[in-house]
């Protein structure tokens, strides 16, 4: 029965003991895009006990270049990613209990899904969800592993509540983003290198080899041939509202959430960013033009066409996503453009 895991059990830090531990663990993975595909496949092949996969999107042709669980057939069927992922993973390892959730990883949903979970794997594509995930992880004392990439550049950091600094210690606030996979592209090797770091750490946590954990923040650029390993002990901030002594878990509260609503009687969703602050429309227009969007606009707003949708972005960061009534789809489009 364990024949399929024989090469993993031969690896001394895992062994038969570690394999049994792995089999008793439950991992929650947020996102089933590029990072999610590969993270999910590695943990499923490794024989984790249970894997819960949350994703709000469906499979599109432009995913196939790097999202390893999906095929051309999934695109034709427009399958939700969580569903397509579950199908493929089941064919790979029928021993693993798989749970696919098609939906948005809101704080409410995270609060529900996190029960009994041993590890949260970050495979999301935006900082808003990651900050909520970071708060949830600290509320329930669950380790999580940050991973992110764009272009040929990627990074990862292992966060153990009560031990390491947290994502909010590092970033202090939601960074103003410029680069996303939808604006500067992404190559598959970058995804795999982030996932290599995430899954190595995941295996250490799941087999409880705490001494082997990586304490540094890794970042690398495969095209520019860069690799950096930054020591993080000084990053812990005692006044941090997510992990410090007086916590409020700010990213779980409604006020910090990106607000989206279907506009009364129109085929349009309005998105309001979670934090205040102006968008530099000239800079954004120049950037979107450079990646071949036709940008129209005036000093107060920009407008672009994107597949079936028209998107209008205002200086205050608000956007109208025309051509949809689906909140999750609209938020996804917004985050793809504005991070």
């Amino acid at each position: 029965m364990y024949e399929r895991y024989s090469r993993q059990m031969l690896f001394a830090p895992i062994g038969k003991n570690g394999q049994e531990k792995l089999r008793a663990k439950h991992v929650l993975m947020i996102g089933a895009g590029a990072l999610g595909s590969s993270n999910g496949e590695i943990l499923t092949r490794a024989g984790v006990g249970k894997l819960t996969i949350v994703d709000r999107d469906y499979v599109e042709a432009s995913n196939l270049q790097r999202q390893q669980l999906y095929t051309e057939e999934d695109v034709l069927q427009k399958l939700p990613k969580a569903v397509a992922a579950e199908r493929r993973l089941r064919a790979i390892n029928s021993d693993v209990e798989l749970c696919a959730v098609v939906g948005d990883a809101t704080p409410e949903m995270l609060d529900e899904l996190v029960k009994g979970v041993d590890l949260i794997l970050d495979a999301t594509d935006n900082f808003e969800t990651r900050m909520a995930l970071n708060d949830i992880a600290h509320k329930y004392q669950i380790p999580w592993i940050y991973g992110a990439c764009v272009g040929s550049f990627g990074m990862s950091f292992t966060i153990i509540p009560g031990k390491t600094p947290c994502l909010n210690c590092l970033l202090k606030s939601l960074p103003v983003q410029g680069m996303t996979c939808d604006t500067v592209g992404i190559i598959a090797p970058t995804v795999q290198m982030v996932v290599a770091h995430q899954t190595a750490e995941a295996l250490k946590i799941l087999v409880e080899d705490w001494e082997a954990l990586r304490h540094s923040f890794v970042s690398f650029d495969l095209w520019r041939n860069q690799y950096s390993s930054m020591k993080m002990s000084r990053a812990k901030d005692e006044s941090c509202l997510s992990c410090g002594s007086e916590r409020t878990y700010p990213y779980l509260s409604r006020e910090n959430l990106m607000k989206s609503e279907v506009l009364c009687g129109r085929d349009t969703v309005q998105i309001r960013p979670s934090k205040e602050g102006e968008v530099d429309l000239n800079e954004l227009a120049a950037h979107l033009s450079s990646i071949h969007y036709e940008v129209k606009g005036n000093p107060y707003l920009l407008s672009i066409e994107m597949e079936a949708n028209r998107i209008v972005i205002f200086k205050d960061g608000r956007a109208l996503i025309h051509g949809t009534k689906n909140l999750a789809q609209a938020r996804s489009i917004y985050q793809r453009l504005l991070g």
Partner: protein, 77 residues
Amino acid sequence: MNKILFFAHLKDEVGEENIRIDVAGRTVAEVKELLAAEYNLQKLDSAMTAINEEFASNEDVIEAGDEVAFIPPVSGG
């Protein structure tokens, strides 16, 4: 003298992986401001900073000989 390292798109914007410049006695925030102006760098203020391969905050003061690296956080996945 200090060695300043630029990661990812910052390397391309600066045109070099690293530069040498004397910024001893200045805070990280001051150096970010100075470099952003000099090289027309976008969003350097939200980049993470390492001094001698160790995480540094915006208030940390750079000493002579320190190596400073700027690493922009990303969100893609």
